[in-house]
């Protein structure tokens, strides 16, 4: 009975077992890479870590709707789950963490988490919060002007909605019915600042004021996120305009490796949310649906561990860019 019901859930969404396992792998890879990054940080090998832990369901669930290299994506620094779903690898992540020349995001110029891929239409990200939103609606406008059905996924934390840029972009998206999806991962904190000091009212309710739909979703339930995102993508592709998705989730780690979250939140709260770990939850679903058993689960773990090990070794041995290369690419170079 339980099995049939859960099966109905993913089947109703048009997902088959391969899809489910792919999603699971993406989530798990994001998590395991993240854990490895913290270890390297503690070992003094990595200067800075910023985590996706706890938000993998929101990321993979939404990103699974993307057409890599066609749709445009403006991820934020926690969106390892999104870029992995699009095709980035563990090696890419580790190269970036260790700031090596081969880092596909920036050649070691930027902090980890500032994603970029020309091929995957991951638009080069930066640190200032909120700047991606006006850019994202611009990219959506280009799709509209050319009459293409591309969609833009624009991501950020709940605090990114406090910046004026978010509002200006929401307004523009609404005015022109642009094919853009605002995916807000509300993980309750902005570094130390809790949601109640960050957000008046509810983020999801803001969409109505711009004349387009806002949907709240359990951000720790990958299928639920996939579902609302799928509807939003379809809407956008049909030319019906933007959607705001507020995925309720939780930041399971400190803000970054520079942060000590004991200064501002209770351990009990963190423990409560650990029980709602999106990977645990999806795993249970997959077991219930008969897609995963213990053997298969171990097999996947092993594969991923090998991948992360290989990536770590590769990245640790990869060279830095030449110091003087810091002078390059300020402007286009003559051919």
């Amino acid at each position: 009975m339980a099995i049939r019901e859960t099966q109905r859930r993913h089947e109703a969404l048009g997902l088959d077992e391969d899809d489910l396992l792919r999603m699971y792998r993406h989530m798990l890879l994001a998590r395991r890479v993240d854990e490895r990054m913290w270890i390297l940080n503690r070992q003094g090998k990595a200067a800075f870590v910023i985590s996706c832990q706890g938000q993998e369901a929101a990321q993979v669930g939404a990103a699974y709707n993307l057409r890599p290299g066609y749709d445009y994506v403006y991820p934020y620094y926690r969106d390892a789950g999104i870029v992995i779903t699009l095709g980035m690898t563990a090696r890419d992540q580790l190269l970036s963490l260790l700031a090596r020349a081969e880092d596909p995001n920036s050649g070691g110029r930027q902090m980890p988490g500032h994603f970029s891929s020309r091929e995957l239409n991951i638009v080069t990200a930066s640190a200032p919060i909120g700047v991606q939103y006006p850019q994202a609606v611009g990219s959506a406008m280009a799709f509209k002007m050319r009459g293409e059905d591309g969609v833009v996924l624009a991501c950020g934390g709940e605090a990114s909605t406090s910046e004026g840029d978010w509002h200006e972009a929401m307004n523009f998206a609404g005015i022109h019915d642009l094919p853009v999806i605002f995916l807000i991962q509300n993980n309750v904190y902005a570094i130390s600042v809790p949601e109640n000091l960050q957000v008046a009212g509810r983020i999801v309710d803001r969409a109505a004021g711009y004349g387009f739909p806002g949907v709240e979703v359990d951000g720790n339930d990958v299928l639920a996120v996939y579902k609302v995102a799928k509807e939003a993508f379809e809407r956008a592709r049909r030319g019906e305009g933007p959607t705001l998705i507020e995925a309720k989730t939780y930041r399971m780690t400190a803000h970054s490796s520079d942060d000590d979250d004991r200064r501002y939140r209770e351990r009990e709260e963190v423990e409560e949310w650990r029980k709602k770990d999106p990977i645990l939850r999806f795993k249970q679903y997959l077991h219930g649906a008969g897609v995963l058993d213990d053997a298969k689960e171990r097999e996947i773990e092993e594969e991923i561990r090998a991948e992360v090990d290989e990536a770590t070794e590769y990245a640790e041995n990869a060279p830095y860019a030449d110091p003087e290369s810091a002078m390059r690419y300020v402007y286009a170079e003559e051919e």
Partner: protein, 328 residues
Amino acid sequence: MATRSLVQAIHDGLAEEMRADETVMVMGEDVGRAGGVFRVTEGLQQEFGPYRALDTPLAESLIVGAAIGLAANGMKPVAEIQFADFIPPAFDQIVSEAARFRYRSNNAWNCQITVRAPYGHIPGGALYHSQSVEAWFCNVPGLKVVAPTYPADAKGLLKAAIRDPDPVIFFEHKKAYRLLKQEVPENDYTVPLRKAKVHREGTDMTVVSYGVMLHLVLEAAEKLAGEHGIEVEVVEPLTLYPLDKATILESARKTGKFLVVSEANLEGSVSGEIASIVAEEAFEWLDGPVMRLGAPNVPGIPFAKPLMDWYVPDLERIQGKMLELARY
């Protein structure tokens, strides 16, 4: 050749680029239906439709940010900031974003946008419609900052800016818009970015200037030649950032006397950078102090005309400063 004012030349440059390349577009407040508050974009919406000549909401960060995103997705937007005074809300998108797309992505992404902004004093403009804000952007690697004065240069530089694969901030002096007309080539041409221009050759001193001050400097130069036999070399940077050091230094070394004139409030203006390049790299050739003339260090040009007139350097003050240097 056609006789065009600055505002017409810029209009023509935009229209020609839009005709030649359908990814070129203009966007900003009132640029569409109304054709711009200075009428720079007049007729463009009729010719190219409501999207390629796009009336945006009143939101400068959005205007530049959306332009960046449009560029990331294949367009070549020319974003207008209605007055340079209103560029600050777009500051983050310009300096943190547009300027850095190429560098931070290690050459994978670029940001081919042009941001046009009318600047400079104009009667009635007052504190928030008169500023010369170029210095803010002249410490931001990745940007090019252009400020032409004459119609033909402006048209050629605008075309170069639009075609340049990196972001260009394009300052247009409001008071120069209709000040004079000039023969402007009708064939397709560009004026190179990052190259200064020697407007007038001379052997006794170099004056670097731009905008409406350049007009006055050239006038003063003629007077000095006629009345005092002093031959002034006048150099216009055209690109204010990064500066064309070679042309500036060559002139400084030739004349041995050097003055920078701009209408920006002096302390921290671009004049400081120009002067310090000369002080460092033409020191051996200098026959006098490197001088600067600018506006006083007050927060803006007052509305009352007598105060405005007092504020902005005029012909007399410029000529006086040039004579002072000549006689040094």
